[in-house]
């Protein structure tokens, strides 16, 4: 039985996030500077929470599949995230 480690808070450095997504740190850096990935700088270093992994991978998939501009990929990712949240709420309302 392997104990899973719950990833809390800002658990990824720039390099760790890039490594986990299979991209160069520069790719992440450019998307932070473009405002499409959220970073925490409170500690002086760039730190990312684990939700950023999902968003970064989604952006990467959209950019590569559709040769999309990062801002267009981010717009699409925003809409996907909102769609998923609304679908969850709708399911809860329908169940209630």
């Amino acid at each position: 039985m392997q104990q899973g480690e719950l990833l809390e808070g800002q658990c990824f450095s720039l390099e760790e996030l890039a490594q986990s997504c299979g991209v160069a740190p520069r790719w992440v850096q450019e998307r932070v500077e473009a405002g499409v990935l959220r970073v925490d700088t409170a500690s002086g270093d760039w730190r990312f929470d684990s939700v950023c992994v999902v968003r970064a991978r989604r952006l990467l998939q959209l950019e590569t599949t559709f040769d999309a501009d990062p801002q267009l990929a981010a717009l699409t990712a925003d809409l996907i995230e909102e769609l998923m949240a609304l679908r969850r709420r709708l399911a809860a309302l329908e169940a209630g």
Partner: protein, 329 residues
């Protein structure tokens, strides 16, 4: 193994140009995007489309695939075997050793196993993707989703996960392995959070550490409650007199039975907060709250006594207009 007609999967002719293949791939990727599509088999269709694109967008792989022709006439779709040395003379863009990404069909793994692992390397040609450094290299992380019940977040859980990995045989071909991993899920987990299983990703290279398996947590939809972060929302059905007169009611919450004081005059839509009764805290993160969304359930007027009671109410509220903006006032 089943023969995969990649041209049919993308809906293009065998004579399709690179541009036509790219357009067909994007059309399919939009239609079956796993986060958006409502098709029950969207994940499988997307995997097929990705796989077809992997082969047909690469001139070397496409040429090798084309040399196979199509499924032999008369043979069942599941009986396809590539001829011996079918790929002689073709040189795929090979990659480092290690487990293949999961999600490819047996057909693809059998034919292009080594090249499949080249996916990450192929990205090297695209500006911004990681280049493999010389020397020890950490294995790639694997990503998967795990569906839990909300109650698992309250109590912790143990789950068995089926994982697919691969190793190289003596001929350098990919051989798929499937194994079950038993995982202990810590309590306090919330939706969207990740659970890391250290060392369960791809093996490292040249002495590098293995990557991790990152499990993204999803909660199975449950009509009783839904989570937002660590806060949990639950419907609290009340009789009209419980809502208007207030009192103590017993409620089954994810954390167990709770006695809740309902304030008098609680109207539908009002929320009662039970502090700290949401998903338990973990590490430095505090527990969430439980919100009870009040709903008023009317008893049916299905007998003389019930009808009389509603008649009494009508007399008691002569000025009540349910369709006015200030109903009940």
């Amino acid at each position: 193994m089943e023969f995969k007609d990649y041209y049919k999967i993308l809906g293009v002719q065998r004579s399709a140009t690179d541009d036509e293949i790219k357009k067909a791939y994007r059309k399919g990727a939009r239609k079956y995007h796993p986060d958006v599509s409502k098709a029950a088999d969207a994940h499988e269709r997307m995997a097929e489309i990705n796989e077809a694109h992997q082969v047909l967008s690469d001139p070397e792989r496409r040429a090798a695939y084309d040399s196979l022709g199509s499924a032999p006439p008369g043979a069942g779709a599941h009986e396809f075997r590539p001829p011996p040395n079918w790929d002689a003379g073709f040189e795929f863009s090979d990659a480092d050793a290690g487990a293949a990404d999961a999600g490819y069909s047996d057909f693809f793994e059998q034919l292009f196993g080594r090249a499949a692992r080249g996916q990450g390397r192929a990205r090297g040609g695209f500006d911004g993707f990681a280049e493999a450094p010389a020397g020890p290299q950490r294995g790639a992380d694997h990503h998967a989703k795990i569906e839990l019940d909300l109650l698992d977040a309250y109590h912790g859980a143990q789950r068995a996960i089926r994982l697919r990995s691969a190793h190289l045989d003596a001929q350098g071909r990919i051989v798929n392995d499937e194994h079950e991993l038993h995982v202990s899920i810590p309590k306090g987990v919330r939706e969207g959070q990740h659970i890391r299983l250290a060392g369960r990703g791809s093996p490292g290279h040249a002495g590098g550490a293995a990557g991790d398996l990152l499990l993204e947590v999803l909660f199975r939809p449950d009509p009783r409650w839904r989570a937002e972060g660590r806060d949990v929302h639950q419907r609290l059905a009340l009789a009209p007199w419980e809502a208007m007169l207030g009192g103590s009611v017993q409620v089954s919450t994810p954390g167990g039975e709770a006695q809740v004081n309902v304030p008098a005059g609680s109207s539908p839509g009002r929320k009662l907060r039970l502090k700290g009764r949401g998903i338990p805290g973990s590490g430095t993160q505090p527990a969430g709250d439980l919100y009870l969304d009040i709903d008023v359930v009317l008893p049916a007027a299905d007998g003389d006594a019930a009808r009389a009671a509603y008649g009494q109410m009508a007399k008691a509220f002569p000025n009540f207009n349910a369709r006015s903006g200030r109903a009940g006032v």
